[in-house]
Structure formats: structure tokens, C-alpha cells
Symmetry: C3
Subunit: 147 residues, 3 copies
């Protein structure tokens, strides 16, 4: 059964890690909001004696890292799943998923936890992006008769 294939298990495992990673971004944002007492909504500022402020640079940095995840990870979930449907070697697919996930976590660290000079974030962005484009090309050439 497909669920027994190592590459599928690996896909499920790393996709779920990435799902939890997205949820953690909201916790990171909340932590900065509470530390600096800046909120996006009146009712949140009321509760915490903070202020409403929509352009705090530290909050916005974490929010950009969060949005960057939303621009990338859902596409990975789709492209990763369909890449498996092209029948790649199991160990190669697992390696791609592993490197993708590690790079996206590093991306968040150098973007929003401990900002580093470029090209740190550039590399951590380009590697997973390249993996997705590679998988996309493989899928499209495999299923091109479906055009």
C-alpha cells in the first residue's frame, strides 16, 4: 500500500513538520507583540494596556517571515505530493524533502529570530525554491499529455 512506501512516509513527516512550523510563526509574532506591547486590534491593546501600531519594525519582520512561509510551503505540499506520483527514487525524494524542510527552518531563523546579513537568507530561500521548481518541472514533463 502506498502508505508503506518510505518516500510517502517521509513526505507525510516533513509536510507535518512544516505545518507545525507555520503555526509556530504565529507564536513568534505574538511573543514580539507582547514584549513590545504593540497590537493590530483595539481589543487586544485594551486587554494588555498596549497600543495599536501597525508598523512596528520587529513585528513586521516576523510577519514577513510568516507570509514568506505561506508563499512557499503550500506549494511544497502540492508539488511534493505530485512529485511522488512521478515515481522518483525513494532516497532521492526523501533527501529533497529533508533539505527543503531544514532550509525553510533556517530561513526563519536568519530572517526573524536572529537576523543575519545577506546572503544568509538568500541561500535559505533559493535552495527550497530550486527544489520546488525542480519537482514542478519533473511533474509537468511526466504529466504533459494532460495539457
Amino acid at each position: 500500500m502506498w502508505l508503506e512506501e518510505p518516500a510517502f512516509k517521509s513526505y507525510i513527516f516533513y509536510s507535518s513538520i512544516l505545518g507545525i512550523k507555520i503555526l509556530i510563526m504565529a507564536i513568534l509574532t505574538a511573543r514580539v507583540r507582547y514584549r513590545k506591547k504593540v497590537f493590530a486590534n483595539e481589543e487586544d491593546a485594551d486587554k494588555t494596556k498596549g497600543i495599536v501600531k501597525l508598523d512596528d519594525p520587529d513585528v513586521e519582520r516576523v510577519r514577513r517571515a510568516h507570509l514568506n512561509d505561506l508563499e512557499n510551503i503550500p506549494a511544497f505540499w502540492i508539488l511534493g505530493a505530485f512529485y511522488l506520483a512521478t515515481g522518483p527514487p525513494s532516497e532521492w525524494a526523501t533527501l529533497l524533502f529533508r533539505v527543503y524542510t531544514a532550509s525553510r527552518i533556517i530561513h526563519t531563523i536568519v530572517y526573524a529570530v536572529k537576523p543575519l546579513p545577506q546572503p544568509a537568507r538568500g541561500f535559505a530561500y533559493d535552495i527550497p525554491n530550486f527544489i520546488m521548481l525542480y519537482m514542478g518541472v519533473k511533474i509537468i514533463s511526466h504529466f504533459k499529455n494532460a495539457l
Copy 2:
């Protein structure tokens, strides 16, 4: 066949409700934009004799609720699907999907339709978030050999 399993049908049903819910957020935003005649693009303002304004508080509130959906619901789609792959009791999984969906709808109502003081939105956010983290932990411990 897996499609006959009650928990899978429930997953499909509630995931689709959530998909439609996201589409409705765009309709809510448009309604506020037309009522207040504030738009994000020149060409939209031209058509409706409105103005371009990117910081209207009522529009931004609906947009934050919309973005909050994008930060949560795609992760639910993935974590919910893979949670089923861990073989949970069908009625328990169905209950989680149902509570998740209801809470996310309530979240939008108390955020953007009829804003309420905290902790209304806090509860409506934390319950589905906790469900996702719970499912995530279950998936990861089930598939941990795939690391």
C-alpha cells in the same frame, strides 16, 4: 475503499466548508470596500467613483481575519489528512474536524463581522490551533521513523 470511511468523508466535507469560507472572506472584504468606497487599486476606484486608500480600519480588519485564515486553514488541510493516516477512532477525528471548523467560523464572526472584546477571539483562535498542534504531534510520533 478509504473514500467510504466516515472520518474521510467528514474530512472532505469540513475541508470543503473551510475552502468556501476562505472564498467568502473576499466577498466580505469587497462588501466593506464598496460600502466605504475605498479601494487598493486606481482602476477599481475609477470604476466606482471611490478613492485609493490602503489603511481604512474596517477594510484592514476584514483583511486581517482573511490572512488569519490563510495562516491556519491550509495547515489544517495537511494535518487533518495525515492525522487520518495515523488511524484515529473515526468519531474522535470527526469531532475534531467539526470543532475546528465551527471555531474558525466563530473566529471570523467575532473578528470581522461583529467585533467582540477579548477573550472572544482568543478562544476562537486557540481551540483550532490546539487541535492542529495535537494532530501534528500525533502524526509526528506515528511517522517518527521517517526522520
Copy 3:
């Protein structure tokens, strides 16, 4: 096997095109940022002798088109997959996926590549939105016993 069904292959093909399309939006944004030398982060401006500016109208236009994709395409991935589970005629499903994908590409062109007066973008938005709502209604009425 389901992977042999033409409608499934078509779903995989067009979903992957849309995944790559989302990745290309980031390249479009970067192109405008480098042309105008405006960046969101200090470390990016440093590297390129540009400036930090969060409200450049050309950059924001591409970013709105990108966000619009994130508000629509993940919902398509879910609704398209589950629509197939309702057993639609294969050619009809393929037509919907094809029109959806073409319209979303046109949407980006008239929004962010070569902005056109309304209702160009309105049509390119409404057609795929209507396709998703149609699929959503079909799924919900097919699986309504799962409520």
C-alpha cells in the same frame, strides 16, 4: 488505479502549473524591487545600495496579485481534489481545471504585468471564483451526510 484517470492527471498537471505560478510571483516581485531598488529589509538594501521602503506602488501591486493567489489557489487545490471524489464527467472536470488555470494566469497579467482598466481583472477573478464555488457546492451536496 486512480492515477490513470484522465481527470486526475489533469488535476495534477494544472495544480502543479498553479504551484509554479505562485513561485513565479516571488520572482516578479524581486524584479520590480531590483529595478526600483526598494526593499523590505535593511540587509537587502545594504547588499544592493537600495533603500528600505514599504509602500512603493509598483511593488505593492505585484504583492497584492501574489496575495490574491494565496487567497485562491490553495482553496482550488482542495476543492479540485474533492470535486473529483464526487465522480464528475472526466472531460467536464478537465475543462474546469483548464479554465481555472488560464483565468488565474490572465488575472496576474492584467493585475501586475500590464495593468488594464476594469472589468478585465474582475472577469479574470470572477470566473475561477465561480468555478471554485460550483465545485464546493457539488462536494457539499455529495458528502452532506457527513455533516
